[in-house]
């Protein structure tokens, strides 16, 4: 028996997946139904006119947060894409991105069960990889569910042959990358701090980024700050208007995901856990 090399702990991965599954299923279902609902709303011309009128009456910043000037009657893809950047959908993603790593790493430490896991044939790095895999894979799976919601919604409510689903797929994949990058930052926080601190830091990071993204769209004098926010790298008009993938934006999001995850791994493996 090779005692110094530990095989990958699939039992731990399975155990954590099963623990997260009910929350994932609930969030996925909400996002899925939301997309179908958006399709139902956009399909009805009269309702969409009322919604757009309502948006015009509200402060401009709200319209900006939902898609800005792209939101016009007749611009069906932009109107369907409301479902991709609606604050409720963002909140659901945030819940998963923040909740999963902090439940799997610092919460297990605080409950005293991480000591049991690490006293078996599981290295600290392997435990971290399990949490990272579940976070990133779970995020991408949620994004796929969101896209499937759009696919089903557009087949239930006929939008005619002009509506192409490919840009929605691109949007979903890039959105998944954004969500995974946020998951990477949550992992970094979870690897470095106690649960409550990790949760608050990640939420603060997200909220700050979100509002900065909205404000930079709305107030042109601070537009130069836009590249600072993570949301800048999911450029809706570019995704829908250009056929090529926005490689530069994808690279930035991948970079954030990789750097934060690796940094978290290094900190996690070097720090003494508060067992």
């Amino acid at each position: 028996m090779n005692g110094t090399r530990s095989p990958f702990p699939f039992a731990l991965l399975r155990f954590w997946v099963l623990r997260i599954l009910p929350a994932w299923f609930f969030i996925g279902l909400m996002i899925f139904l939301f997309q179908i609902n958006v399709c139902a709303m956009v399909h009805d011309d009269e309702r969409i006119k009322v919604v757009l009128k309502l948006l015009d009456m509200l402060p401009a910043i709200i319209k900006t947060s939902l898609g800005g000037d792209m939101l016009q009657a007749g611009n069906t893809p932009a109107l369907i894409a409301i479902g991709y950047q609606h604050p409720l959908v963002m909140l659901l993603y945030m819940l998963f991105a923040v909740g999963v790593p902090t439940t799997l790493l610092p919460a297990e430490i605080q409950k005293g069960t991480m000591e049991l896991i690490l006293s078996r044939r599981v290295t600290k790095t392997q435990a971290y990889i399990c949490a990272g895999l579940i976070t990133v894979a779970g995020m991408f799976a949620l994004v796929l569910v969101m896209f499937l919601g759009t696919v089903l919604g557009t087949s239930i409510y006929d939008f005619g042959p002009a509506l192409r689903l490919y840009p929605f797929f691109k949007s979903a994949v890039i959105g998944g990358l954004l969500a995974s990058a946020v998951g990477g930052i949550a992992l970094l926080a979870a690897a470095s701090f106690q649960r409550n601190i990790a949760v608050w830091l990640t939420v603060a990071y997200l909220v700050l980024n979100y509002f900065l993204a909205v404000f930079t769209e709305w107030w042109t004098r601070i537009k130069w700050l836009a590249p600072v926010t993570i949301f800048h790298y999911v450029d809706g008009p570019r995704i829908f208007n250009e056929s090529a993938w926005p490689i530069d934006d994808v690279s930035v999001l991948l970079g954030i995901l990789i750097v934060s995850t690796v940094a978290g791994s290094v900190i996690w493996s070097r720090r003494d856990l508060q067992l």
Partner: protein, 300 residues
Amino acid sequence: MNTIECKALTKRYGKARGIEDLSFGIEKGEIFGYLGPNGSGKTTTIRCLMGLLAPTSGQCRILGAPVVPGKATYHARIGYLPGDFRIWPQYTAGQSLRLMAALGDGDNAKKRRNQLADRLDLNLDRRLGTLSKGNRQKVGVIYALQHRPDLLILDEPTIGLDPLISQVVLDLIREASESGATVMLSSHDLAEVAAVCRHAAILREGRLVELAPVSQIVRQGERRLKVWFVKGAQVPALPADRLAGVRVISQDSDTLHVAYQGTAQAVLKWIASFPVDRIATPQTSLQEAFMQYYEKEADR
């Protein structure tokens, strides 16, 4: 080759004390007592041995391999019971134990798990959240033993257990040792250490203050002398200036109970000048030796 080997092991938490310059070894098949009051550094030592904490300096080897923090060195061959055993309350004992076995090489632990549950009188189908503290501790004991480890590291294994089940746990420890396993038994219950261990280390404020056979630790303590004087005779006052190292433990109308260090010659010589009815030399228990040890260290 020792199963556990620590050399100049030191762990500091910032400015706070952890353990300081610990060196000891535990032979294969031995049951080794690791004694000390709360906060003396027992758990810190164990966590360093398990690779759960990175030592500030020094090194330890387990089963011949150096312990690398976070690397699960030989953990499949180690049975570990933490001092504060906590486990997922929403699962049954059986589910949790199956998971923990699957995280090592203990996939075939089912038979042993059921045997241990029978001996400890534990229902594995009950949810852990509904179990009493004692029953949760039984789950911890099964968790440490179910995969027949070569090395057992047990931190307060009988805490919260009733005397009958504590006895069963001590029997299980003896049986594990007889079948070749090495046991490190951390405890502040000295009776349990005396019952199963041949050697013990005593820890105080993070430092090793004794490492010796248990019998020697008992011998090193103060010795006792109880004297019954003839009825009606007055019990004499102890001349502290002439009998250094002798102290009165208790005194009543016709008996005097004293503790002394070294030989009994001076005490006996003094007593001989009084009308003595009889003399007894009560055995010093490990508990008393241990307490004396701490008093002695505290006086330094």
